[in-house]
């Protein structure tokens, strides 16, 4: 009897454990199921008795906006949902750092796929070449969206093999931030626009005895934006027309030599700058100028800095700046015509209403919004950023480009830390990039 009790007890525990495990699995399956039905052809069939959202087609929308920018996109989505009686955009923020991991997982397992999502412009070639993205041409034509509605640079880039693969939301180039108080104290009235003005200002602003620097040179991020900008300003690029890396060209050498000279020759930057060192010094008012992305605005505002924004100076022959861009893309697996109409409807709405996104500090890619009085009335950052739109460049349209230049950033880091040999370092980066190209079957 006793033994039987114990046996019964064990079975009970076991049933409990099993039911927990199964419940977890079941939960997962259920969510798979709902997403499967969501991507099926039937409109959302939830039985929200009388609920208005119940009769709307739900569109699952993924974004990587886990920073302060998330709420700005949310207000666009909320406003859209309020005015649409046919579609309901379900806004889902994924953690920024894991975004492409999660996206790759969804593509790889073909489970939990969003109906449409945000993708960085320079990631589009990687996914387009794998035939994972749906060309937007038909969707755009049906919704009345035209290429001429957006800034050319982004549209041209997303035009892959004659098909339009992504509709741009914004373009975020490198921009110049400067500390207005330090500028005033040094008697500088306007932000520098070329190399001579930049050097003169940076030298005036540098006072090592006070630990104050004209321009603190980053040795890691955001070199990914800075170094290519200096190359573009010489009319060169980091890859040729065939997508072969060209990292040791004379232009690349000149770009890195210039960066190095700011530390070791002109001495307007301290040595041995660690990751984010230039940001920390800028926040402390000990770095007068820095180049960074528009997304830094929030940090400066919170620190109550008195800062100005201006386009990147022209250090070489012509204006040029590296930029990223957020784009809307649709996975190839999305074939439900009703949903595609809904996505088109939403994107058309965004093109007219992305002013909310501009409020996050970004300059948007929709010309209608760029030319609106409302946009021009925003504080200076957005309009200064938009000034660079005529000469923005994006990363070479090569699949997995990031792995080509991994070595480049390490070599730049070493040169800037150790006063190293520029040509030798870039030759090394070029050799590694060619290895990566060979592995990129």
């Amino acid at each position: 009897m006793k033994r039987l009790n114990r046996f019964g007890f064990t079975v009970a525990i076991l049933v409990l454990v099993m039911s927990l495990v199964l419940a977890a699995c079941g939960g997962k399956k259920e969510s798979n199921g709902s997403s499967a039905s969501a991507s099926g052809s039937a409109p959302a069939s939830s039985d929200n008795s009388g609920g208005k959202s119940g009769s709307k087609t739900e569109l699952l929308f993924w974004t990587p906006f886990s920073g302060p920018d998330g709420s700005f996109m949310k207000s666009i989505v909320d406003n859209y949902n309020k005015q649409s009686d046919k579609y309901f955009v379900k806004y889902q923020i994924q953690p920024n750092g894991d975004y492409y991991k999660l996206l790759d997982n969804a593509f790889g397992t073909k489970k939990n796929m969003p109906d449409f999502m945000i993708m960085h412009l320079d990631s589009i070639p990687t996914y387009a070449k794998k035939d994972l993205l749906l060309p937007m041409d038909d969707l755009a034509a049906k919704a009345g969206i035209q290429k001429s509605d957006y800034v050319e640079a982004a549209v041209d880039y997303a035009n892959i093999d004659g098909k339009w693969m992504g509709i741009p939301l914004d373009i975020h180039p490198l921009i110049m931030y400067y500390n207005k108080d330090l500028f005033q104290a040094a008697g500088i009235t306007a932000p520098p626009t070329n190399k001579e003005e930049f050097l003169a200002a940076a030298k005036k602003l540098t006072d090592p005895s006070k630990g104050q620097w004209g321009y603190v040179m980053p040795t890691q991020w955001p070199q990914q934006f800075l170094f290519p900008s200096l190359v573009y300003q010489q009319g060169a690029d980091l890859a040729d027309a065939d997508g072969k890396p060209t990292l040791n060209t004379p232009a690349a050498v000149a770009a890195l030599e210039f960066e190095k000279s700011l530390i070791f020759e002109h001495k307007v930057s301290p040595q041995k700058v660690a990751q984010d060192g230039e940001v920390k010094l800028f926040l402390q008012g000990k770095n007068a100028i820095q180049f960074n992305g528009p997304w830094m605005k929030d940090q400066w505002d919170k620190a109550k800095l008195n800062y100005g924004v201006a386009p990147i100076p022209v250090f070489f022959d012509k204006p040029g700046v590296f930029a990223g861009s957020h784009n809307f893309v649709v996975p190839k697996s999305q074939t439900d015509p009703n949903k595609l109409d809904g996505i088109g409807d939403f994107l058309k709405y965004v093109a007219g209403h992305s002013i909310d996104w501009a409020k996050s500090g970004q300059a948007v890619a929709s010309k209608a919004v760029l030319n609106s009085e409302e946009f021009k009335a925003l504080n200076t950052q957005q309009t200064e950023v938009a000034k660079e739109f005529d000469y923005v460049h994006f990363a070479p349209p090569v699949p997995n480009w990031g792995s080509y230049v991994g070595e480049l950033w390490k070599q730049i880091n070493l040169v800037l830390l150790n006063d190293g040999d520029v040509k030798k370092a870039l030759d090394e980066a070029q050799a590694k990039a060619e290895q990566a190209a060979a592995a990129n079957k």
Partner: protein, 298 residues
Amino acid sequence: MKGSLRSRLTSSLFVLPYFLCFCVFLLYPLISGIILSLQNNDMLGTHEFVGLQNYIDIFTPGTYIHDAFFRGLWGTVKFVVYSVPFLILVGLALALLVNSLNARVRGVFRTIFFIPYAISATVMATIWMRVFDTDSGFLNLMLDKLHIHHQQHIGWFTDTPWVWIALVVSTIWWTIGFNMMLFINGLNEVPEELYEAAKLDGANAWNRLTRITLPSIKNVTAVVMVMTIIASFNVFAQPNLMTRGGPGFETTVMLMNVFDVAYGQHQGGAASAMAILLGLIMMIVSAAVYRLLFRKEA
């Protein structure tokens, strides 16, 4: 007969939950990892079986993955060599210190030393980047006040060997609580009578430590050592967030490269092969350490 069958069934049922979890969370991922390493898999839905090609590539000089593997391995091994002795010695020292406190404050200090272990990697990195930054970091500003390295700051994250010191110190701060707890548990197991007897025989504190404490906690030490070695081989967050693998590729550890190959190159098979080789190396090293510690008894 019936009873013994039932009892055998009962005992197997006790193991079943663990066995299920083992299958779901260990065996299945391990087997799929091995299968993945035999494929050319872009992690985006297309894959083909390539046999041992990924492993062959790793051992073929001049390939992208060869350099990724061996450079990463070198970085990881350096971290293991520099960090493990300190993680064990400091953990043991803290355990001895905390245990020698009187019972009322012991719990307080145990908690204080354990708190960093519960902190997320990002927070840990933010804290230590503020301490170790070259120009605005707390440490260098303190050294300034003492007029040490005033002219040229130490690049805690940008120069060797400082970068390793910075990584080891922040790792100790972040994870030492765990080792300390294991050692405290081990120390509590040592019979009090041994110490009393030793005291009567006139053994001093050092003798009591080396003759009684250390031999008594040998099992715990072995466990701590193996776990620490495994944890240090798996180092990722500290260099990834704080040094970004710099200066150059000095602190670019294996898992950073596995990540790069998997998600930067979209070569899931090659990345998996790297991870499995790393796992094998960890197993061999752990087994060797375990053998070494128990050689006398065997």
